[in-house]
């Protein structure tokens, strides 16, 4: 391909560098817009638009008339940089003193008819330490209040509700205002030119003239909002990055799909190793979703997703590979498998009805599920109807321990048909049957044995058999090579297993054990020690 490309899909409304043209909404009681004074804080370009705020318990705001109505793309947002230099002077998010949130975005068709979207306060990060914030507001989200009648988006701005007043200076600053889907667009990249990375994008985002407010460097990682678009319809991306902490910004006034990791283009390659995506505040309107819009190659290894929303993977046989390994999903939403491979992953306290909406149970192995108490670990979709699947090494904590319909069964067969699950290793998965569904669990626990003599040498000519308490044979070989693997249905766990080993050179061995609940390994087998038979003799 080529060197990675980092871009965005934002449209400027105003950059704050203007010398005139800003306005105050009708509720403003503070100063008029002030321009191009570099002595006052700014975040993008050369200046911010500022105002004095010398009157306590009054409202201040700054706005800009776009001159025409703005139409937001679906799940897009207005991005508005705002700062108040004296954070102690603004009301909290609840508007305890003024009935208005300490920081808010104002958007309307004019300065007399506009909506209020509360986006911050003295108790919301980065306050009480102050600092520039890039508010994201989607006006399809219900406003918190309005002045006049809000109908459309033409005049855009931000305001503060004051509970005290700094009598000097111009503590309220508003800088670049943009709108769009708010996509951080990653394209291209290769081994020769470097792969696309988070830091690569952030370094573009954080250029003084950019300050897109999408993925920015912050202490300990990167602060992200909007859509992380990995590959586009035009260009694939070769994204490979490791050990990155991404903090998902609190966005109270956006749609759920606003914060989205979206992978496009079937030729894209996305590899995240050791990533952590952490929602900073779960009161956010958008926890952050993961969406594969195209069947690209995706590898997530040793990643951690905390408090995020849904994950939708996409695998098309023969086209791509999606492998999620050693990855932890903590308090996240439902994962739609779409044939993706999950190996050695942990799912902890998923808040959805089902942790994984599975299309192919067989691709889920060695995973540990912990229920929040009302959650299925794996929901089988209609693809499973009539099929037989292997399920290897999965464990279930805090799930129902019997079949039923509590909503907390490890397996929810919602395929509408009969599904047979051959379980090997891990825990026995109790299940719930959806409408028209039936389930057969055949748990396979591996039990390794090694037949030795008293000198520790493997005996290779013994007959080896296992019987249940009724004498029914569960497993047997006429002549063992000395090592045996007996895999059994987990429903046998706890029941009697009588092991019989008979070699003419050794004493008959009959040992009664209990079927274990977990597998052992070939490297740590049950050792059956035979004692030499000094009596047996066949002289011919």
């Amino acid at each position: 391909m080529a060197a990675p490309s980092y871009s965005e899909d934002l449209t400027d409304i105003a950059t704050g560098d203007e010398a005139a043209g800003w306005t105050n909404f009708s509720t403003n009681t503070q100063g008029s817009p002030s321009y191009q004074d570099s002595d006052y804080p700014y975040i993008q370009g050369s200046y911010a638009v500022t105002q004095t705020c010398s009157k306590s318990k009054t409202l201040g705001n700054l706005g800009y008339d776009n001159g025409s109505t703005i139409t937001l793309p679906t799940d897009g947002a207005f991005l508005i940089w705002q700062n108040f230099s004296s954070p102690f002077a603004i009301d909290d998010y609840a508007g305890t003193a003024t009935t208005y949130a300490g920081m808010h975005v104002l958007i309307g068709q004019d300065i007399n008819n506009f909506g209020w979207w509360y986006v911050g306060g003295s108790d919301k990060s980065p306050n009480p330490y102050s600092g520039w914030q890039c508010h994201a507001v989607n006006t399809t989200v219900a406003f918190d209040t309005q002045t006049g009648t809000y109908t459309s988006d033409q005049v855009v701005g931000a305001g503060v509700a004051l509970i005290a007043f700094p009598s000097k200076g111009e503590p309220h600053q508003v800088d670049a205002m943009r709108y769009g889907r708010c996509s951080a667009i990653f394209e291209l990249g290769d081994s020769g030119n470097g792969y696309a990375t988070i830091d690569g994008f952030a370094s573009q985002n954080d250029v003084q003239t950019s300050r897109w407010g999408l993925i920015q460097v912050t202490s300990g990682g990167y602060l992200w909002q909007g859509r992380m678009l990995l590959g586009t319809g035009s260009n694939p991306v070769d994204f490979r990055d490791t050990n990155v902490n991404v903090f998902i910004k609190w966005c109270p006034k956006v749609t759920e799909n606003f914060n989205l990791i979206e992978i496009q283009n079937i030729n894209s390659y996305v590899s995240m190793t050791g990533f952590t995506f952490q929602v900073l505040d779960i009161t956010t309107a958008s926890r952050g979703r993961f969406l594969m819009s195209d069947p690209a190659d995706v590898y997530l290894d040793q990643c951690t997703f905390v408090d995020m929303d849904t994950f939708v993977f996409d695998t098309t046989s023969g086209l791509n590979t999606v492998e999620i390994t050693n990855t932890t999903f903590t308090r996240c939403g439902e994962v739609t498998q779409s044939e993706a491979v999950f190996d050695s992953c942990s799912f902890i306290n998923c808040y959805s009805t089902s942790t994984i909406q599975a299309s192919n149970l067989q691709n889920i192995s060695n995973c540990a599920f912990t229920s929040d108490g009302s959650n299925h670990a794996i929901e089988l979709d209609s693809n499973h109807a009539g099929g037989t699947y292997s399920l290897i090494g999965c464990t279930y904590n805090n799930y129902a321990t019997s079949n039923g319909s509590t909503g907390n069964e490890p397996i929810y067969n919602n395929s509408g048909g009969h599904v047979t699950i051959n379980v090997s290793g891990g825990d026995y998965p109790y299940y719930r049957n959806g409408p028209g569904s039936t389930t057969t669990i055949v748990q396979s626990i591996d039990w390794y044995f090694e037949i030795q003599n008293s000198a520790g040498t493997i005996v290779t000519n013994a007959e080896f058999r296992i019987y249940d308490s009724n004498g029914n044979q569960l497993y047997g070989v006429e002549t063992s090579d000395g090592t045996e693997l007996y895999s059994f249905d987990g429903s046998l766990s706890g029941t009697t297993a009588r092991i019989v080993v008979l070699s003419l050179d050794y004493l008959y061995l009959s040992q009664t054990l209990t079927h274990p609940t977990t597998s052992n390994t070939a490297s740590a087998p049950i050792v059956l020690t035979l004692t030499g038979d000094r009596v047996y003799d066949n002289p011919t």
């Binding site: 007959e463 019987y467 004498g471 003419l504 008959y508 000094r534 009596v535 003799d537």
Partner: protein
């Protein structure tokens, strides 16, 4: 067929039936299996092979725990199907155990030695000292069979682990018996093989048939009885003084051979043989008599010593009695012998002979104090000396156990020197010899012809 020792000669459904439902093993006299039986080791090996290769058996708990070649346990509820099967097992003992509890126990009894007539000679045994009904072994001839000695509660409830004695007593044959625990110094029996000597042969000292004895044919057998006394009976007149006995055989004046025949007859009787007030079961009573050469010895029994009373006088020096203390006593012994004279002595009317002790505390031969040996034929001293008087020989007796002439030690061999001298035809002659504890001892005096003696009238 000989005893089976190779598992290849056993087949399910023919010689062996394995009932995995009732957990029994049955042996059948069929195919290769005859009354000669099968060694337990071969049976175990066969069973093991069947378990190994018969897929219907391997699910079933294995019947045996082998301990040694000759000691096994039947476990997990298994047992032999019946007594007939048990009696076909050779060369090994076994216990039938369940959950660590022994329900039955068998030892194998194998006799060593030959039976004179293996087709008819049959041993029998008892498993308690006071048992009055013997059990014959399953087969005639040398024994190799299982004998149950223990049965737990619900299985017969007995324990014969501390006593076992086997007998072999056939008419006209030597008797044999063996007290297993006593002889092998065992505290108790266990389920293994015990080998012991047991054999018989023709008894040259018995010529009478049972009928002869029962009808007093050839001798007054009915006068020969035995009495078992509860208190010791003191008898005197022995070389050793007196002795105590608990068993007294009344010979009824019959010769010792008849006594022996009658006693051996009684010891085969399925009845009380005690002519006294007591009770002694014939078949299992201890043996009382034993011939050693021509002498008849009594034996020490569990009742005590055995004495023969009212004997035939001719048997005085052919009887030896063992007292309660285990000491052998006998009547004083009279040695006998003869001194032969050659013609020169016989033809000399003056020929005279003397028998001196060669050595004697009072004086050895060759000295003036030499002591002439006395004959025991008379109650008074009667020296062995006298004229030849033309006799070819002189018969003498010697009180072997009583002669103390000159202070010699009685009961010991006497070295003697015999001299003779004549006048006209016999020169002086001497010879030496030893009078031992025996009969018919011979000495010879051969005097040279006298050619020089002259005493003109």
């Amino acid at each position: 067929m000989a005893k089976i020792v190779d598992p290849d000669f056993l087949n399910q459904g023919t010689e062996v039936t394995i009932d995995a439902t009732n957990l029994t093993i049955a042996l059948h006299i069929a195919g290769n299996l005859s009354t000669d039986g099968v060694s337990l080791k071969a049976l175990y090996s066969f069973i093991k092979e069947e378990w190994r290769y018969d897929s219907t058996l391997i699910p079933v708990l294995f019947p045996f725990t082998p301990i040694t070649d000759e000691q096994f346990e039947l476990i997990n509820g298994w047992d032999f199907a019946d007594t007939a099967s048990e009696l076909l097992v050779r060369d090994g003992g076994w216990a039938v155990t369940q959950g660590g509890t022994t329900n039955k126990a068998f030892f194998n009894l194998t006799t060593l030695g030959s039976f004179q007539d293996s087709g008819s000679d049959t041993a029998y045994y008892i498993q308690a000292a006071d048992q009055t009904a013997v059990v014959y072994t399953n087969l005639t001839g040398p024994v190799n069979q299982a004998i149950q000695y223990y049965a737990g509660a619900g299985y017969g409830d007995y324990d014969y682990s501390t006593y076992f004695k086997i007998f072999l007593r056939e008419q006209g044959k030597t008797f044999d018996s063996y007290d297993l625990l006593s002889e092998q110094n065992l505290a108790s029996l266990t389920y293994r093989k015990y080998a012991l000597p047991l054999s018989n042969s023709s008894d040259a000292n018995i010529s009478a048939s049972d009928n002869d004895i029962e009808t007093d044919t050839g001798a007054s057998y009915s006068s020969i009885v035995v009495t078992y006394y509860a208190s010791p009976q003191t008898k005197t007149g022995f070389v050793q003084g007196s002795g105590n006995f608990h068993v007294i055989i009344d010979a009824g004046g019959q010769a010792r051979g008849y006594v022996y025949e009658k006693i051996q007859y009684l010891l085969r009787q399925d009845a009380d043989i005690d002519s006294g007030a007591g009770y002694s079961y014939g078949k299992t009573a201890d043996e009382l008599l034993q011939f050693v050469g021509s002498d008849l010895y009594t034996l020490l029994t569990s009742d005590g010593g055995v004495f023969i009373d009212n004997i035939n006088a001719d048997d005085t020096n052919n009887l030896y009695f063992v007292t309660d203390a285990g000491t052998t006593v006998y009547y004083p012994y009279v040695a006998t012998g003869s001194i032969a004279f050659n013609d020169n002595l016989q033809n000399d009317a003056d020929a005279y002979f003397w028998m001196f002790f060669t050595t004697n505390p009072s004086g050895d031969y060759g000295t003036a104090n030499a002591v002439i040996v006395e004959d025991s034929s008379d109650s008074t001293a009667n020296q062995i000396a006298g004229l030849v008087a033309g006799a070819s020989a002189y018969q003498f007796t010697f009180d072997y156990d009583g002669n103390t002439q000159g202070g010699r030690t009685q009961g010991t061999d006497a070295n003697v020197t015999i001299v003779a001298i004549g006048l006209n035809t016999a020169q002086y002659v001497s010879t030496t010899g030893t009078i031992s504890r025996s009969k018919g001892q011979s000495f010879s005096l051969v005097a040279p012809l006298e050619r020089n003696y002259s005493n003109p009238a």
